[in-house]
Amino acid sequence: MTATRRPPSTVKTAGDGPRPLGKRIYGFLRSIPTWVLWVLVLVWSIPTIALFVNSFRERDAQRGSGFWNAWQDPANGFDFPTLQNYQEVLFPDVGAGLGNALLNSAAIAIVATVIPVAIAAFAAYAFAWIDFRGREWIFIATVALLAVPTQVSLIPLLSAFSQGVHMTIPIIERTITLIPDANLSGTIPSVWLTHTGFAMPFAIFLLHNYMAGLPRDIFESAYIDGADHFKIFWRLVVPLSVPVLAAFAIFQFLWTWNDYLIALTMIGGSAEALPATVVVASLAGEFGAREHLLTAGAFVITVVPLVVFFFLQRYFVRGVTAGSVKG
């Protein structure tokens, strides 16, 4: 008895004409997509390249010609490439004081990344491996809050930070202070608190997905050995969860570094505490004298996330796709 062999490929499949012709059409069609892809990639990258090139040109050079003519700058009497934009924009006495703002951005981003990661890791572990009543519902409720837009919380949070939280009982006209005015408005800690709160739903969702997938047996053998939840978490789960913790950390770092709305609202007028995005945005609002600094400033705030992205994109991609793909 012979095993069935797949029939040789002279069988005509639908959509084929005489073979050579079909093959040629296929081949041609197959190559178009690759060109289209690379043209698209090139076109996609042009804006970033434009910014990069322009940030090294003098102000009048930028005013006078497009970035594709940058190589002609020296011939036209301009200095190219030049670092003067960067100098002006980074140092406080002359330009926009972006150097200071970058420190603020870093302060905001680092704390607003580390703390949510830690808090969410504990919570995700609890949702995954500690059994308690109502676990499913609380989890669903928490993750459903992912969709809530920032705007919805801004006004009350700002009030809470600037005046504290008070409750007035109407009839007897007594006001109880629940949270005293800690003088947090216009400071970076208020931004930390806000970011931490908003990061929770996504963080718990992401970390829980991963932690719930860890194999049961390691937990069981640990229980038998008498370990309690804290030890299991610290010694077993955290080391195993490093990939997803890294993924979320990068995601959160980029999100908080690039954030504009929350910083603008919470810090508002206090100029020394403003992060870089707000400073660059206000630069963008000025037309005229300082326009040339905008390119350097924009590139400076973009370069840190770009670097993080390049070196750690594997983790970042993992963070973005986690939970979105079935199977």
């Binding site: 504990f122 499913e136 700002l158 996330p305």
Partner: protein, 649 residues
């Protein structure tokens, strides 16, 4: 340099402090099992300090620091005692003793304006009500645990209301029935008396807890973990999301400036919806005069026709007689897109702008993302291509707005264009007015058309109607281009009175209504990477066997894609679409940086910001925020249903 030091110190201190608090809590409950006394005393001290701290924060105490410290000490001692002595009587004595002590201290140090004047009727009513509440709670919790603690709690609560607070109630009803803010003239004695009774009640409550045995202590240690682990996260979620949400909804019903808010009912919402800046139907009849609209209608009809024609040999996809393929889908998608655009151009206003944002971003980001994912799949340099498309996701919206402003910038005629878009547009204008350039371009276009016609003919020979139809349709724009180059010209130019060709750049950002679209391009540029990455993972996750089976059955690449792959990734498309909706509804940075909502580009997020923080109208701002929330409610429900289906099986 010292800025750097200050920053570093601040960061390290914050992180360190949080770590210490958290680990401290964990270590504390570790103690409960084997060092119960120590654990209990810490617990006692912290609880007492917390209660008195609350009073301190409300400025109810004289010499608050001292009082809080003493109270904490008493609490710690009580805890220690309760952690050591096991006899019920001793425990009750300890409880009563410390309760009385704390009560006396409270009574002695509470500020004079808080001295109650005891209305015995109210006090007894309070006690009676408290008894009822206590018994009720005991009954509701199934009479499982002892009555006494619950009773005590109820009594304490009732006593506070009746003895302390009720006095205020009566004092605030003046004779003519108007409400007058009460000034109670109490005395120190009454304060001490009330506080003492309160302390005794609470003390009995504390003393009624039995000493937990080994099993119960282990249970305390174990059960406390879930609270320790969850509490910080849930506290943040409730504090920054749930409560502010409720408060914003409440604020939406108020009006006035922040320090003086009054009830306004639905006035804010009425205000919003009757504001022509919010939604403006005035010119909607313009819709039927616009080329966009009729073009869209034509495309949709063509798409349906093509689908029917291709499907007449047995339909698949949308039921009988209709064939879903690349050709029909592109016509339909194109038609629907243009239809939507024509509507959003005719109906203006902030709401319309937001809807337009959602509409465009979903269509373009999904199509482009899917397209790139498919194109890159298994091609050479796939990872590089995907990385470069994904790159803009790392750029902030502010940075991207700056980048694209550079791309869009128009310069006056006579100066060279520095923005890429206008440079190209004006250049095309110059070419179309220059005979040599026109000739060359028309020649190139004719070659392309010839190529497409050849492809169509070959496709017909090969029996692929998709290629035939697609190629023919694709020749149309090129014919139109030839017509424009030879005839009226195309591009950024205008003929001035002297008959000269003068550059006419497009003012992308300031020309309504299409400036909205040019701003959406920025968003699409950023978010397509997101869609692409997810689609790419989804496409790769489609089981090989399905694709193989389709190939063996003789399906072409195109058929395999549309009829096997796409249905498999429907759930993923759903996830991407919902995530994009949530992100785009709150778009703020781009309109704020590029136009600040001027030139007819206002969006809800910016509107809310202006109302709340520039005009200081918290009520109206909150109303806009509530509108935003209503917009994401469907997505929230969708997510909840999805999670329920997955988790509660």
């Amino acid at each position: 340099m010292d800025r750097v030091i200050v920053t570093v110190v601040g960061v390290v201190a914050t992180i360190g402090f949080s770590a210490i608090v958290f680990i401290g809590a964990n270590k504390l409950f570790d103690l409960s099992e084997n060092r119960f006394a120590v654990f209990n005393s810490v617990l006692g001290g912290v609880s007492a300090a917390a209660v008195f701290g609350l009073l301190w924060g409300n400025r109810m105490l004289t010499s608050p620091i001292l009082v809080t410290v003493i109270a904490a000490a008493i609490g710690a001692l009580t805890g220690l005692g309760l952690g050591v002595y096991k006899s019920a009587r001793t425990r009750m004595l300890i409880g009563i003793g410390s309760g009385a002590a704390l009560g006396l201290i409270l009574g002695a140090t509470v500020r004079s304006q808080f001295w109650p004047s005891i209305d015995w009727l109210a006090a007894v009513t309070g006690l009676a009500a408290g008894t009822v509440i206590g018994v009720l709670i005991w009954v509701i919790t199934g009479r499982r645990r002892s009555l006494v603690p619950r009773l005590m709690l109820g009594l304490a609560f009732g006593w506070v209301i009746g003895g302390w607070v009720a006095a205020d109630f009566t004092a605030t009803l003046a004779e003519d029935g108007t409400l007058v803010s009460g000034t109670t003239a109490g005395s120190q004695m009454e304060a001490v008396l009330v506080a003492l009774v309160l302390g005794l009640l609470v003390g009995v409550w504390v003393g009624s807890f039995t000493y937990p045995d080994k099993v119960e202590r282990a249970e305390i240690s174990r059960a406390s973990r879930k609270y320790i682990f969850l509490l910080p996260a849930l506290a943040f979620v409730i504090g920054t999301l749930v409560i502010p949400l409720a408060r914003t909804i409440w604020l939406g019903f108020l009006t006035g400036n922040p320090t003086d808010l009054q009830w306004a009912g639905l006035a804010n919402y009425q205000n919003l919806f009757t504001d022509p800046n919010m939604i403006d139907f005035e010119n909607w009849t313009m819709l039927f005069e616009s080329r966009l609209f009729w073009g869209a209608v034509v495309l949709v009809i063509l798409g349906i026709a093509l689908g029917r024609w291709l499907g007449r040999s047995g339909g698949t996809g949308l039921g009988t007689g209709f064939s879903l393929s690349a050709g029909t889908l592109s016509l339909l998608a194109g038609g629907v897109t243009l239809l939507g655009f024509s509507i959003f151009v005719a109906v203006r206003g902030t709401l319309s702008n937001n809807l337009w944002w959602v509409f465009s971003v979903i269509i373009f980001a999904v199509i482009l993302g899917l397209g790139v994912a498919v194109l890159a799949d298994r091609s050479k340099g796939e990872n590089i291509a995907k990385s470069l498309i994904f790159l803009p996701m790392a750029i902030s919206f502010v940075g991207a707005s700056v980048i694209w402003r550079l791309m869009y910038v128009p310069r006056p005629p006579g100066e060279p264009q520095t923005g890429a878009f206008n440079a190209v547009w004006v250049q095309i204008g110059e070419w179309s007015n220059d005979t040599t350039a026109t000739t060359i371009i028309v020649a190139i276009l004719m070659v392309v058309i010839a190529g497409l016609l050849y492809l169509a003919w070959r496709g017909r020979q090969a029996g692929s109607t998709a290629i035939l139809a697609g190629s023919l349709v694709f020749t149309l724009p090129f014919f139109w281009l030839i017509y424009r180059f030879l005839g009226p010209g195309i591009g950024g130019f205008v003929i001035n009175d002297a008959g000269e060709v003068v550059a006419d750049p497009i003012f992308f950002i300031t020309t309504a209504p299409w400036n909205n679209f040019w701003m959406m391009v920025v968003f699409i540029w950023i978010q397509t990477g997101f869609a692409m990455v997810i689609f790419s993972a989804a496409i790769k996750a489609v089981p090989e066997e399905l694709v193989e089976a389709a190939r063996i059955d003789g399906a072409t690449e195109s058929q395999t894609f549309w009829r096997v792959t796409v249905p498999q990734i429907f759930p993923t498309i759903g996830v991407v679409v919902t995530t994009l909706i949530v992100t785009v509804l709150k778009v703020f940075d781009i309109p704020k940086v590029m136009t600040n909502g001027n030139f007819d580009t206002q969006v809800l997020a910016n509107e809310m910001w202006e109302r709340a923080f520039t005009q200081l109208n918290f009520g109206l701002g909150s109303a806009v925020a509530v509108l935003l929330f209503v917009g994401v409610l469907p997505v929230m429900f969708f997510n909840i249903r999805r999670m329920q289906r997955e988790r509660l099986r």
